[in-house]
Amino acid sequence: MKGTKKVFIRKRSPSYKDKETLQLYLIMLPVFILIAIFAYGPMFGIVIAFQDYFPGASFFGEGVKWVGLKHFDTFIQGKYFGRLIRNTLVLSGLNLVFGFLSPIFFALLIDQIKNLKFKKFAQTASYMPYFISTVVVAAMVISFIDQDGIITKFLSAVLGFPNKNWRVEPSAFPITYTITNVWMNFGFGSILYISTISSIDPGLYEAAKIDGANRWHQCKYITLPGIKPIIAINLIMSIGSLLATNSDLILLLYTPSTYDVADVIGTYTYRLGIVSGEYSYTTAAGLFMSVIGFALTFAANKISNKLTGYGLW
């Protein structure tokens, strides 16, 4: 195929192929420059984790003060290290369990709904939170769990909880964060599962029914095996991002009174790096976390390959 094409082009004109290649590269060049600057540029900036960088200095060359692993040492021995690791693991762990399972659960539930109109409605409704901005979602949550907010009132009426501002209550933060995250993402996350389930051969279900398989059997022996590859891949990706919490949402929801249970690497980097200007130190902290995150993805992929036969690579 490749050979015949080459011959064909050469027949037309000897320099045609080169001219074509040049033109194609010219089309790509502007975007390559963008990628080089904005995707690769920051990668070189990582070197400041090993320097005492001050604003305005260059990353390499004259006047750079190399300090080796000093910032990593400070970070690991610092008083916030334990807190950051603990919060990251707790919040991501909760999110890994509920955020990962809720789309699967919803997809299996939707599969049981045979009334097409109702099914369509429930699905459409479930995507809605994904379109609403994180800021607006956070604003709604904050107002709902405030004193006299609708959720606060509901909780105090039904469970007898005190009517107060739950946003500043540290013990409530992990729950608020997890529920909000699940609420925002379960519908969108279920799309792939639902479509995969609908592509399973209906004959399998018919045959199972004739053999006397009930709803639960069908789900366990036909539906779940059908979506197993997607579950495996999503699980690997969730484990890989275990240390990269959704700091967007945390940054909006937390207050100084809940830093103790809400502060994660992203929010810490923002406060210390962007707001206070400790560039080298926060870059080191971020790099430390991404290296561990990458190792986790690698390990999860290996385990998944062994156990299920599916993996990212």
């Binding site: 490749k2 094409k5 074509e20 290649t21 033109q23 194609l24 089309i27 790509m28 502007p30 975007v31 963008l34 990628i35 600057i37 904005f38 690769y40 920051p42 990668m43 900036g45 990582i46 400041i48 604003p55 539930l109 049981q112 709904i113 109702f118 409605f121 429930a122 459409t124 409704a125 479930s126 995507y127 809605m128 379109f131 901005s133 994180t134 800021v135 607006v136 604003a139 709604m140 107002s143 709902f144 006299d148 009132k153 609420w183 969108f188 479509s195 029914k209 006397g212 398989a213 709803r215 940054l251 980097t269 790096g273 962007i274 560039y279 926060t282 971020g286 790099l287 991404s290 990458f294």
Partner: protein, 299 residues
């Protein structure tokens, strides 16, 4: 009894329970927005008492009237529209610009280009190096800081490339024989055929840019170029800008006279700024579903 029908259709009690559960979940996803909406259009007194739950109590657009006078919100609205339009158009252009040449199977150095594209998908410099880069480029505080770094996406390039690769090469060869060059083939053959994927890309980009606030928080210290979401964060989340400051002094007096609550103003603001998204979402969602499918095929 068991073999009454031969095929088991499932216990009707469980079926009912599953329907009820689905209905409950649909209610939970839709109700918060609905609640915010009915409270925002209720009579200010009822809204202040916060006891509106299922249908609006009375009807009043006073909260919206107060909002419309807020020039800072309009400015932020316009900024967001500017960012959305520019970023989306550039995103479509940049994605096609790389995806199209990569459909040439015999292109020299294709292997290296693929590597060049793949590395940033797994590694990134992180928040601080990106911030320093933007500062070094002089984009800090400049509206272009919201557009240029966000106007390309390697993921989108790969998505478009996968789509364009499914166009039969025979079409290109035919156009070539007719004397069309690389650019002509792109414009006359590939672009018209790539409309579906471009629609998906546009929808994803519009929603992402509309909802983005974090890069503005980092790169735009002054309020004049800040997008709507950052403005909302100041008013609704941080409370650094009091809701009463939004309006002029007369409106503030009016608000006190009508006993309009801060919460109602906030809810009106939520509805008013989410309206475009809520209207667009029924049309957008099918593209979202399509995008998820296309993305999964890549894996």
């Amino acid at each position: 009894m068991k073999k009454r029908r031969g095929i088991r259709e499932g216990n009707p009690v469980i079926t009912f329970f599953l329907y009820a559960l689905t209905a409950f979940l649909a209610l939970v996803t839709v109700y918060p927005m609905y609640y915010v909406f009915i409270l925002s259009i209720s009579e200010p007194k009822a809204a202040a008492a916060m006891n509106v739950y299922w249908i609006p109590k009375g009807f009043s657009l006073d909260a919206y009237k107060a909002l419309i006078g807020d020039s800072e919100m309009w400015r932020a609205y316009l900024n967001t529209i500017l960012y959305v339009v520019c970023t989306t158009i550039l995103m479509l252009i940049t994605s096609v610009m790389v995806a199209y040449p990569l459909t040439y199977k015999g292109l020299k150095g294709r292997k290296y280009i693929n590597m060049f594209l793949l590395i940033p998908m797994y590694f990134s410099g992180g928040m601080i190096p990106a911030f320093l880069l933007i500062t070094k480029l002089g984009l800090y505080g400049h509206p272009l800081s919201q557009i240029i770094p966000a106007c390309f996406s390697i993921w989108n390039i790969i998505l478009v490339k996968a789509y364009l690769s499914s166009i039969p090469e025979g079409l290109r060869e035919a156009a070539k024989i007719d004397g069309a060059g690389v650019f002509r083939i792109l414009v006359d053959v590939y672009l018209p055929l790539s409309k579906p994927i471009l629609a998906v890309l546009a929808v994803y980009t519009i929603v992402a840019v509309w909802n983005n606030w974090f890069s503005a928080l980092i790169y735009l210290p002054k309020t004049d170029w800040q997008p709507l979401q950052l403005y909302l964060r100041r008013v609704l989340v941080e409370d650094t800008k009091q809701i009463q400051e939004v309006m002029g002094p007369e409106m503030a007096q009016e608000m006190v006279r009508k006993q309009m609550s801060g919460a109602q103003m906030k809810y009106a603001m939520i509805i008013f700024t989410t309206l475009p998204v809520l209207f667009a979402y029924p049309f957008f969602q099918k593209y979202f579903v399509k995008g998820v499918m296309l993305g999964s095929l890549k894996e």
